[in-house]
């Protein structure tokens, strides 16, 4: 199996998994789910890190990589923390 077709399989199965995983969500959780999923989409950090590594001594590419890493991490860190802040507020009756 070639690298490309394997990657396309991964894409297909990942999409199907995504559709299945969040089939039913109570409306209460739509906003946190949106911001949580948004944080996960910041996984582009992996691409940014790879780019920095491949840059070698190319200053311009290092700069682009670091910028992209910064923006992606802003998305990840901010996204997870904001989601946590929202979810921390959901309490049941009687919880203190």
């Amino acid at each position: 199996m070639s690298g490309l077709s394997q990657a396309l399989w991964v894409l297909l199965l990942g999409s199907l998994l995504g559709l299945e995983l969040i089939g039913k969500v109570p409306p209460t959780l739509h906003t946190p789910l949106m911001s949580g999923a948004n944080a996960i989409s910041g996984i582009t950090v992996l691409a940014s890190l790879t780019l920095i590594q491949k840059a070698g001594d190319n200053q311009a590419l290092l700069l682009i990589g670091a910028l992209s890493l910064g923006f992606a991490l802003f998305n990840v860190v901010g996204g997870f923390l904001v989601t946590d802040r929202m979810l921390a507020m959901f309490r049941r009756k009687g919880d203190s």
Binding site: S2, A7, G14, T50, Q53, G79
Partner: protein
């Protein structure tokens, strides 16, 4: 310099060169994907949501760790990694702590735009400096990543600016001229994408970047504030697609899986929101602002349009509450703007002590994103069992004594059921007009977020209580207290 996708080929298919380190990093990747999946699944249940979010964060950290073990950055690379991480991480930390809950939609849009920008930058970087021996698959991946990343970036930033009120909807974007402009921009981007493989680091790349960026602005700008949640959710899905495309560019299966999962999840959420607002995705994207068309169809939603308005004071409202057995609050975004959630919680506690049955009717798109109102009320310690969804509470309205609408408007408009000429017609609404008595707390008779007149205000059982939601609620509280409500029962 090496071509990423050739390396990717090794990563994907090399079976006989497995070293221990490769086994380790592959194992870490697999665990990370598993945890990400469990995280997304757990986020769909109230009990497990918080843990699931933390699980996803751990998965992300694992994925980064695995990659760092695999690529072993050199000291120079470490320096740049540290700089980028420190800046981005710190900014994220501060933003997340400072942002008020009411501004959540804007912040999600901002984060989302930055994710798109990151994918865009990676693709542009590879195209500029590392595409000398790239094959056609890599080049197509770069084109897709630039296109989706740029649209996600500029679209999210426009969405944020519109939600913040920094940007209005310019008049020309409501004419059909915008379709011509957007088609021209799309063609520009497409020309860039088609020519890209011939000259990856040259003019075609910039055509693609500029065309897609402007297209992101062009498609988001005409969309009205009421539809913005749908747009943010869709852009959230795009940022997943952009991440997956970046995964193809740098050859990372993990990135492809995670991006695809987020893309699919975003699509589902978008669909849910469209259903709740009775809007098709196509009409949201190409139909222009809801309010603008409503003004022409409905003859204007201005104050002059109302003729049979009854208004009343907080005292009268408090007397009605004191007599009631069953009270339903309908909170809207206006409540959150007035920061009145805590006053509302106090009022409902007082009524509960008085023996009144209290619940909150939550429209699927209350607030400005689905679930936004739940978050805002949770912040005020309202137990989520008291938050009742639309389909459950609608049959209950006929036996409800008093409904208090706080800063909500379009989601309680009975025209949506009865007036086919209303732009809201067909949208599921809370049927508060079925209740015995309705009080609408509102600052003025101005039109709602979508700019449409509300027939509820003119019904005989409706009375308007004019004022800021927080001031009115505090007025109700002091009125009820002076009547001795709550105290007697507590003492007894």
């Amino acid at each position: 310099m090496t071509n990423f996708l050739l390396n990717a080929g090794n990563l994907f298919s090399d079976g006989n060169l497995l070293s221990h380190s490769k086994l380790l990093t592959d194992g870490i990747d697999l665990v990370a994907v598993l945890l990400l999946g469990l995280g997304i699944k757990g986020l769909s249940k109230v009990r497990s949501a918080r843990g699931a979010n933390q699980l996803a964060a751990v998965a992300m950290a694992l994925a980064v760790l695995g990659l760092l073990i695999e690529i072993r950055p050199e000291p120079v690379a470490w320096l740049w990694i540290a700089a980028g991480s420190a800046a981005g991480g710190l900014a994220g930390l501060i933003t997340a702590q400072r942002v008020p809950m009411t501004a959540m939609p804007e912040v999600v849009a901002l984060f989302n735009g930055c994710g798109g920008l990151a994918s865009l930058l990676v693709a542009v970087g590879v195209a500029l400096f590392d595409s000398a021996d790239a094959d056609i698959v890599a080049l197509v991946s770069i084109a897709i990543s630039v296109f989706v990343g740029a649209i996600t970036f500029t679209g999210s930033i426009v969405a944020m600016a519109k939600l913040q009120g920094w940007l209005n909807t310019p008049a020309w974007t409501q004419s059909s001229l915008r379709h011509g402009v957007n088609i021209a921009l799309a063609v520009l981007a497409l020309v860039g994408a088609v020519l890209l493989p011939g000259d990856p680091a040259g003019l075609p790349l910039w055509l693609l970047v500029i065309g897609s960026s402007l297209l992101g602005v062009g498609v988001t700008l005409p969309i009205g504030g009421a539809d913005m949640p749908v747009v943010i959710s869709l852009l959230n899905s795009y940022s997943g697609v952009a991440a997956a495309a970046a995964g193809f560019v740098v050859g990372s299966q993990l990135l492809i899986v995670a991006g695809a999962m987020v893309g699919a999840a975003g699509l589902i959420l978008t669909q849910v929101m469209c259903t709740a607002m009775n809007r098709s995705l196509l009409s949201v994207l190409f139909g222009g602002a809801l309010g603008a068309s409503g003004a022409t169809v409905g003859g204007g939603g201005s104050e002059a349009g109302y003729t049979r308005i009854t208004s009343c004071s907080p005292e009268e409202c408090a007397m009605a509450l004191e007599q009631a057995e069953r009270v339903v609050f309908v909170p809207g975004y206006g409540l959150a703007v007035a920061q009145a959630q805590h006053a509302l919680r106090e009022l409902s506690k007082l009524l509960e002590n008085h023996g009144v049955e209290v619940s909150y009717a939550i429209h699927p798109v209350a607030g400005r994103m689905p679930g936004h109102m739940n978050v805002l009320l949770a912040e005020a310690d309202v137990p989520y069992e008291q938050l009742v969804e639309m389909d459950t509470i609608n049959p209950e309205f006929p036996r409800t004594d008093v409904v208090i609408v706080l800063g909500a408007n379009d989601v309680v408009n009975p025209d949506a059921k009865s007036d086919p000429s209303s732009p809201l017609y067909g949208m599921p609404v809370l049927e508060v007009d079925q209740a015995r008595q309705v009080f609408v707390v509102k600052r003025s008779l101005g039109a709602g977020y979508a700019g449409i007149a509300n027939a509820l205000f003119e019904l005989p059982q409706t009375a308007m209580v004019f004022g800021d939601a927080k001031a009115v609620l505090n007025g109700l509280l002091s009125e009820l207290r002076s009547m001795g409500v709550g105290k007697a029962k507590v003492a007894a």
